[in-house]
Structure formats: structure tokens, C-alpha cells
């Protein structure tokens, strides 16, 4: 009985890799993340070192040529992915922690805290995301901390709403009522009884949210509001090297392709996982 359950679970976990779009998504995501994570280990030069003439064409010494200041493009590409992916991941993860906290409290309490918190979220949601980010960077300056907190605050209202709705649905379940009847603390009810059972709902939109974060972080870096020169960063590289694009296209094309590969890959993967969940739910229904 248990063995059967485990086998079905394993099948379900790998089912997304059965479709071509799922495989392509997985391959794209894994390769771009690998470049970002392990790239610095293989960089031939220091990312900020001036090692040659500006906008030099690819040679054996500089496989992707050099940029506007004569730095090695390959080394900067290998080094510049961590900021985009790292800040996007961090901002999304923080958004889930804060959004889940607000959603759980608002959804479980039957007091005025619920409307108060949710109206606050509505206000935040009403701001156009870029306007919010620009106001924050104008107010607090351009720094990675402001970048991460800004991107986070764009996601918080949406996540809080979903979690609140899932909490309201779950708080009427027998096991939550049983916990309330035996007098469990609110904290125990939220963290022990409710949260573990709504993670499915929460994870469902994690991939699109991550894509949005990647694009926001990249856009802000491009606009010069996030990572500052001379640090290497894919989006910043596109922005810096735009003037020489016609002479030395690699210094813009390679980072741009990596960002596109990452967002497309994450989206394909998310779709495939969602489809796999759908079919396994169908089969489960027949099994009953």
C-alpha cells in the first residue's frame, strides 16, 4: 500500500519531463542557473579588470570579445548572473514569507485585523509596480537592499490574498476545528494545522512570480537603479554596451539571450508542472 503510494508519487514528480516543452524548460532553466552559479569558477579574467582594447572582436584570449571599457565579456557574463537570479529569488522568497504571514493572520482572525490588513494590501496593489520601485529608489537610493525589498513589496499583496483565501477555506476543516476545540494556540493552529495544507495553492504560482521578479530585477539593473557599476550584471551589461552594439554585438546579445532563456525556461517548466498536476489529479479521480 505504502509502496504503491510512493511509486505514484515518484511518477508524478517526473511527469512534467514527459512533454517536450517540459524538457526544454528544464534544460534551459538548469543551464542558465548553472552558468550563473558555477560561472565565476571558470572565468578566465577578473570581471572588473581592464584587460584589452574596448569593443575588441572575439579572439582566443577573449572568446566573446571585450566591452566598452576593454573588460572580458565572457568573464563578466559568467560572473553577472548571480545578481539577477539571486536577488529575484531572494525577493520572491521574502515576499512569500511576509505575504504568508499577513494572509494567514487575516484569514484566520475573525476580527477587524482582517479588513485592516487587506485594505492596506489593496493600497499597495493599486500602485503601478514601476512607480513604486522608482519612488523607493528615489527615496532610499539605489542599493541591492532597496531593490530586493521593492520587488518583494510588489508581490506581497497578491500572495497575501491567495493565502488568505486558502486559509479561510481551510479554517472550517475538521482538523482545524478539532485543534480549536482542544484549545491549541493560534500560532500552533496556523503553523501546524493550516500552513502545511495550503502550500500546494501557494507553490502553484511561484514560477510566474519568479519570472516577474527576474524581469523586474533585470529592468531595474538596466535602468541603473539596482546593481551599480563596475559590478558585472547581465542587465547592466546590456545597458552599458548599447552604444557599441553594432561593432561588438556579443557583449549585448549573450547576456540578453541568457535572461530570455531563463524566463522562457522557468515559464515552460511551470506550465509542464501544472499540466502534470492536472493529469495526475484526473487519474486519481478515476482510481476512486
Amino acid at each position: 500500500m505504502i509502496a504503491v503510494g510512493q511509486r505514484l508519487g515518484a511518477q508524478r514528480r517526473l511527469r512534467f519531463a514527459r512533454s517536450w516543452s517540459g524538457r526544454i524548460g528544464l534544460a534551459l532553466t538548469v543551464s542558465v542557473v548553472a552558468v550563473a552559479a558555477f560561472g565565476p569558477l571558470f572565468a578566465p579574467h577578473a570581471p572588473t579588470a581592464l584587460v584589452g582594447p574596448a569593443y575588441a572582436a572575439p579572439t582566443g584570449q577573449f572568446p566573446l570579445g571585450t566591452d566598452e571599457l576593454g573588460r572580458d565579456v565572457l568573464s563578466r557574463v559568467l560572473d553577472g548572473g548571480r545578481s539577477v537570479i539571486g536577488y529575484a529569488l531572494l525577493a520572491t522568497a521574502l515576499a512569500y514569507v511576509v505575504g504568508a504571514g499577513i494572509g494567514l493572520v487575516a484569514g484566520y482572525t475573525r476580527s477587524l485585523a482582517d479588513p485592516a490588513l487587506m485594505r492596506l494590501m489593496d493600497v499597495l496593489l493599486a500602485f503601478p509596480p514601476f512607480l513604486l520601485l522608482l519612488v523607493l529608489t528615489t527615496g532610499f537610493g539605489s542599493s541591492p537592499a532597496v531593490l530586493v525589498l521593492g520587488v518583494m513589496s510588489i508581490h506581497v499583496p497578491g500572495i497575501a490574498r491567495i493565502i488568505r483565501a486558502a486559509t479561510i477555506e481551510t479554517r472550517g476543516r475538521g482538523y482545524v476545528e478539532a485543534a480549536a476545540a482542544r484549545g491549541e494556540s493560534r500560532r500552533a493552529i496556523l503553523l501546524r494545522e493550516i500552513l502545511p495544507n495550503i502550500t500546494g495553492t501557494v507553490v502553484a504560482d511561484a514560477a510566474p512570480r519568479l519570472t516577474v521578479s527576474i524581469l523586474l530585477v533585470a529592468s531595474l539593473n538596466f535602468l541603473g537603479l539596482g546593481v551599480q557599476p563596475p559590478n558585472a550584471d547581465w542587465a547592466l551589461m546590456i545597458s552599458e554596451n548599447r552604444p557599441g552594439m553594432t561593432i561588438q554585438p556579443w557583449c549585448v546579445a549573450v547576456p540578453a539571450l541568457l535572461i530570455i532563456g531563463l524566463t522562457v525556461g522557468v515559464n515552460l517548466l511551470a506550465d509542464a508542472v501544472a499540466r502534470a498536476r492536472g493529469t495526475s489529479i484526473d487519474e486519481e479521480l478515476v482510481r476512486r
Partner: protein
């Protein structure tokens, strides 16, 4: 397709042979099913969850659920083969040749369309004319008001019974020769159920319909069906005239099923069928019932027994059928019938409880008073909406009463569970109706059972888990279940885990809120057996909330009959059920289906019962 109704010739309306339905991976859901039915007869298909009865019923329309397929066999309705036809042709035949009445009319009817429009749509889909006159005839056929005003109503403006009548009218509107009904009364109250059943009988007699009626409820089938097929693990295990199969079941599974059905007039100890029904993946090579069978022999495990003819026009799939003992009722255990002490343990004084929404207020309890003494079982009986569940929730501190007091050992309890002292929370434990949502899916069974002992008795984790293991044994579950998650358990196992979790706090009062209504009858009997045994051993007081008079009769000593939040009758079980004084109690008893009822189509006044259908619910 022409517009003529497709009427069956003189032969059988339905002829199913060698039906086999498989999952995508080749595992059979249903195998070796042969059925045949003539005009004016009702065939009952009875079985518990997972028996394949609904899959079989859908196959009669040439339909299989996604993921399953009709692998072999033939389904002939009115002389036409349904298997192997393209979907477009089948769609034309569904409705005109064979039609379907689903379990829940609330989800089958489109809530945003007027019922007259929905009926017209069915007619038009089959290129039949849909005049006002046709619609009115269709409504009149199922004894609904045949005026334009009624046809303009939306489904939510109808009562549950009326909705189900509309669903039946939709199934009949193109005049099919066979109607398949899948548990059409399961969601309905007993009184409404009785009126729908009378309706089905009347349609059979007046229109000469052939009806296949699928149900898990043997008592309903007993009142309705001319012939009966009992299904277990995808196969028919016994088939024959209903009255004979139910009075002298020959297959040990049918016998177990009949023995586990409670009867409110002849109190008896219920006997569940030990074990759990096998799943599709784990069906044994031999007889699927053998692992649970008291009379199995070596040959049972070698090959699947054939469905063999036995005297009386009956078929049975058991090689040892002659050894099946006759039914013999066992008198009930005396536990729970008498109070152990004179002072009440729980006292409810003029309790008033309401459910408020922005627009309305529904009274769930209006001045309800009663008491429960230690060791006693008191039953709260009533239909859905009578307020019985809310009263239980008030006692356990989950619903704040509008007025009145709840006393435990003479001390007034706070309204909210969180405001009550630990001792009070420990002594009152509640078990919920739905075993599929009363256990946290992410907690292992052992942790779930141990938790109340940790919180309310202050035990260490190890000590609480030791207790939990002992409790698993008490509720007759194997110790290995402790490591599993609820999703790996059957409904009956889950409900026993929920009982163990309640016992973990060592309570003095157990509130059982419809604890068996989501379970199959054989499992229900096992759970009730466990509960009665526990009560005898531990001297627990039990407040047993149920709508099922038979279940109540098998366990309670005293009964309170509740209608719209008011106690209509109160007294010992025998007095209330044997000689009801209040009109409402009489109606409940009259409507409850019983195995021993006279044969269907007999002298039971069908018309009188139809009149019991309550009117439409007020428009909110």
C-alpha cells in the same frame, strides 16, 4: 437522426454482456458484468464505494470517465449496440434511447438558467420541438406544477426534492426506454427521499420505463427494485429477485451487507464485515472477497468463482454458497442504555443558537434543554437544518450560543473553547462527520492521536505516542497504521483514528456528530461496534448526533427529536420510536426506508408520499 422516440421492441430493453472496463494501464475496474432488463422493471445495483457500480451505470450510456475505457463486451439498449459507436452518435442516443439522472441535482442543473429553458435545451439538442406545451407536459409528468411561472424558476428557487424531480424530468423529456439513476436520493432528507422514490415507482408503472437504480443504500433498493445485483470489487457477486436476495442472501458479502444494516424497530447488534475492500491495484487472483470471508476454502484463492445459477432464478459467485448461514439478529449490548450515576454530567439549559449572515438569521436552537449522565448515550435526531450539529458545536465551544448555559458537572462553561479551563476541554471531545477532512493530511496518524494527550494531559511526546499505540489497538487498527498519513487510509479507518484521537484526551463525554454518515454500511457497522465496545469498557457518556433512525436505535438509550431548533419529542428510545407522539417524529419514522418493507409496487400509497415533499424554499 429522426425525431421519433426510440421505443424498445418486445425483447429486453437492456442487454449487457461480458462488460469489461479498464484503466489506461490495463487494470480492470469492472469485469464480467452481464445484465438484462425488460420494460416496467427496476434493476437495483448495490455496492459499496469502489465496487464499480457507478462505472457500470455510466457504461450503460456508452460512457466511461476520463482515464478509463470500455475494453470488451457489449451494451445493447432497445436493440441498438452502444459500444464502438462514435461519440457524436452516442450523444444523440443519450437522452432519446437511454438517459441518466445524476446523484446531485444541485450540480447537474445549471444554476444560471431557468428550468424551462434547460428542459427546452435538451429537446432541441435532439432536434425535437420545444414548445411551452412540451415543457409543461415534462414538468407535469414528475408531478411538478405545470405552469409557466414554475418553468421560469431558477434551480436555487426549488427545494432539493423538486430539483431532483426536475433532473428526472430532463431525463424523461425525450422519452427514452431506459433511465439510469445514480444514487438520486443520497443527498436528500428521508422525507424528501421517500417522495422521490414513490415518484420513481410511479414512473415505472405508468410509463413502463425500464430503470437501473444504483445505490449504496440497501434499504432504499429494497423498497424500489424488482431485481437486485450486488457488486463487489468490480464484479457482480449475487443477482436475483430483490426480496429473496435480501431475505436469504447466499453470497457471504451480501449477507454481511444485510447484517450491517440497522433497523430502528428491531434493535439488534450490528455486525460489520471485517477488513477493508480491496482497491483496483490489489485485487487478488481468486475471489476478491476471500480475504474478508469467514467461509473461505483453499479453492477460493485460486480462481475467481463463476457466477452460477442456483434455485429460485438467482445467481451467486461463490463456490461455498450452500454454507452461508441464514440471517440471525443478535440482541444489542446493554451498554449506553442506562445512566451510571444520578447527577447529570452535561446539562444544556435553554440553549439558543443562531447562524447570522448579512441578510438573514437562521435559528439553529431555540430554547433547547437536556442533560446527559455519565455512561449514557443520548441521541439528537433530526433532518439536515434541524440544528443538531450546531448544538454539538456549542457544547464543544466551537459555536458561540446566543443565549443559555452549558454546564459540565454543575459548572457553567465559557462559550469559546479557548476560554475554557484545560480540564473542561479535556473532558469534552468531539468527533466530526467527515472523516476525509477531520484528520490533518500532513500529520502521521500516530502524531495526530498523540497530540491531545500532549496538550491536555501534559504528557511527554514519547508517553503520548505510547498511549496512541494502545489506542490504535482499542479501535481495532493495526499498529503499523500509526506511521501512515490519512490519505493512505480508508474512510472507516480514518473515522476510527478520529475516535482514537478523541479518546487520547481521556474524555468523559464524547460528541459524535454524524460520525458514520460518510461511511459505507459495512464500515458503519464496524465503527458503531467499536464505539459501543469503548463505551462499555470506559463508561463514556456519548451525545450521538444523527439523522439515521436505524443507527440511533442500535446505540442510544434516550432520544431527542429536533425540528428547526426545537425539541419536538424527548424520551427513551423505545417510547419515541415505538410510539411517537409528535407529528414530526411520525413523519420521520414513516419516511425512513427499511429492509423489511413490503415489496415495491405493493400497497404503499405512492400518491400519499408524494404529498410529503416540502414546498419550495423561500427565495433568499
Amino acid at each position: 437522426m429522426n425525431g421519433e422516440p426510440l421505443r424498445a421492441g418486445p425483447g429486453p430493453v437492456l442487454q449487457v454482456s461480458d462488460l469489461r472496463i479498464e484503466l489506461g494501464n490495463g487494470l480492470p475496474v469492472v469485469e464480467d458484468v452481464d445484465l438484462s432488463l425488460t420494460r416496467g422493471r427496476i434493476l437495483g445495483i448495490v455496492g459499496e464505494s469502489g465496487s464499480g457500480k457507478t462505472t457500470t451505470a455510466l457504461a450503460l450510456l456508452g460512457y466511461t470517465r476520463p482515464g478509463a475505457r470500455l475494453a470488451a463486451g457489449s451494451v445493447v439498449v432497445g436493440g441498438r449496440e452502444l459500444t464502438g459507436r462514435p461519440e457524436a452518435e452516442l450523444r444523440q442516443l443519450r437522452g432519446t434511447l437511454v438517459s441518466y439522472v445524476p446523484q446531485d441535482p444541485g450540480t447537474a442543473l445549471n444554476p444560471s438558467m431557468r428550468i424551462g429553458v434547460q428542459l427546452a435545451e435538451v429537446l432541441r439538442a435532439h432536434s425535437l420541438s420545444a414548445t411551452d406545451q412540451e415543457i409543461r407536459t415534462a414538468l407535469g409528468r414528475v408531478l411538478l406544477p405545470d405552469d409557466v411561472e414554475f418553468a421560469r424558476r431558477f434551480p436555487h428557487q426549488l427545494s432539493g426534492g423538486q430539483q431532483q424531480r426536475v433532473a428526472i424530468a430532463m431525463a424523461l423529456v425525450c422519452q427514452p426506454s431506459l433511465v439510469v439513476m445514480d444514487e438520486p436520493t443520497t443527498g436528500l432528507d428521508v422525507v424528501t427521499q421517500a417522495s422521490v422514490l414513490a415518484e420513481v415507482r410511479r414512473l415505472r408503472d405508468q410509463l413502463g420505463l425500464a430503470i437501473v437504480y444504483v445505490s449504496h443504500n440497501l434499504a432504499v433498493i429494497a423498497e424500489l427494485a424488482d431485481e437486485l445485483a450486488v457488486m463487489y470489487a468490480g464484479r457482480i457477486v449475487e443477482q436475483g429477485p430483490t426480496a429473496e436476495v435480501l431475505s436469504t442472501p447466499r453470497h457471504p458479502y451480501s449477507r454481511g451487507l444485510v447484517a450491517s444494516i440497522p433497523d430502528f424497530l428491531e434493535r439488534q447488534q450490528l455486525r460489520g464485515i471485517p477488513g477493508v475492500a480491496v482497491g483496483i491495484e490489489s485485487r487478488p487472483p481468486g475471489c476478491a472477497f476471500a480475504p474478508r470471508c469467514p467461509q473461505r476454502v483453499a479453492a477460493c484463492e485460486e480462481a475467481v468463482p463463476a457466477l452460477t445459477a442456483i434455485p429460485g432464478g438467482r445467481l451467486v459467485r461463490c463456490i461455498e454458497w450452500q454454507r452461508t448461514p441464514p440471517l440471525a439478529p443478535v440482541p444489542p449490548q446493554p451498554a449506553g442504555l442506562q445512566a451510571l450515576g444520578p447527577a447529570p454530567l452535561l446539562e444544556v439549559r435553554s440553549l439558543r443558537a443562531v447562524h447570522r449572515s448579512r441578510v438573514s438569521e437562521v435559528v439553529a436552537a431555540a430554547g433547547v434543554s437536556f442533560s446527559v449522565a455519565a455512561g449514557e448515550t443520548v441521541a439528537l435526531v433530526g433532518e439536515s437544518g434541524s440544528g443538531k450539529t450546531t448544538i454539538g458545536r456549542c457544547i464543544s465551544g466551537l459555536h458561540r450560543p446566543a443565549a443559555g448555559q452549558i454546564l459540565l458537572d454543575g459548572k457553567v462553561l465559557a462559550a469559546d473553547a479557548s476560554a475554557r479551563p484545560r480540564e473542561a476541554r479535556r473532558r469534552i471531545q468531539i468527533i466530526f462527520q467527515n472523516p476525509y477532512d477531520s484528520l490533518n493530511p500532513k500529520h502521521r496518524v500516530l502524531d495526530e492521536i498523540a497530540r491531545p494527550a500532549q496538550l491536555l494531559l501534559g504528557l511527554s511526546r514519547t508517553a503520548a505516542e505510547g498511549n496512541a499505540r494502545a489506542l490504535l489497538e482499542r479501535v481495532q487498527l493495526s499498529p503499523g497504521i500509526g506511521r501512515r498519513f490519512p490519505a493512505e487510509l480508508s474512510g472507516g479507518e480514518r473515522q476510527r483514528v478520529a475516535i482514537a484521537r478523541a479518546l487520547s484526551a481521556q474524555p468523559s463525554l464524547l460528541i459524535c456528530d454524524e460520525i458514520t454518515s460518510a461511511l459505507d454500511v459495512s464500515v458503519q457497522a464496524t465503527v458503531l461496534e467499536v464505539l459501543a465496545q469503548l463505551q462499555a469498557d470506559l463508561g463514556l457518556a456519548v451525545l450521538f448526533i444523527s439523522h439515521d433512525l436505524g443507527v440511533v436505535a442500535s446505540i442510544a438509550g434516550r432520544v431527542l427529536v429536533l425540528e428547526s431548533g426545537v425539541v419536538r419529542e424527548h424520551g427513551s428510545l423505545d417510547a419515541v420510536l415505538g410510539a411517537p407522539r409528535h407529528d414530526y417524529t411520525r413523519r420521520l419514522i414513516g419516511a425512513a426506508p427499511r429492509l423489511g418493507q413490503p415489496a415495491p409496487g405493493g400497497p404503499m400509497a405512492a400518491g400519499a408520499r408524494a404529498a410529503d415533499d416540502p414546498g419550495p424554499e423561500p427565495v433568499r
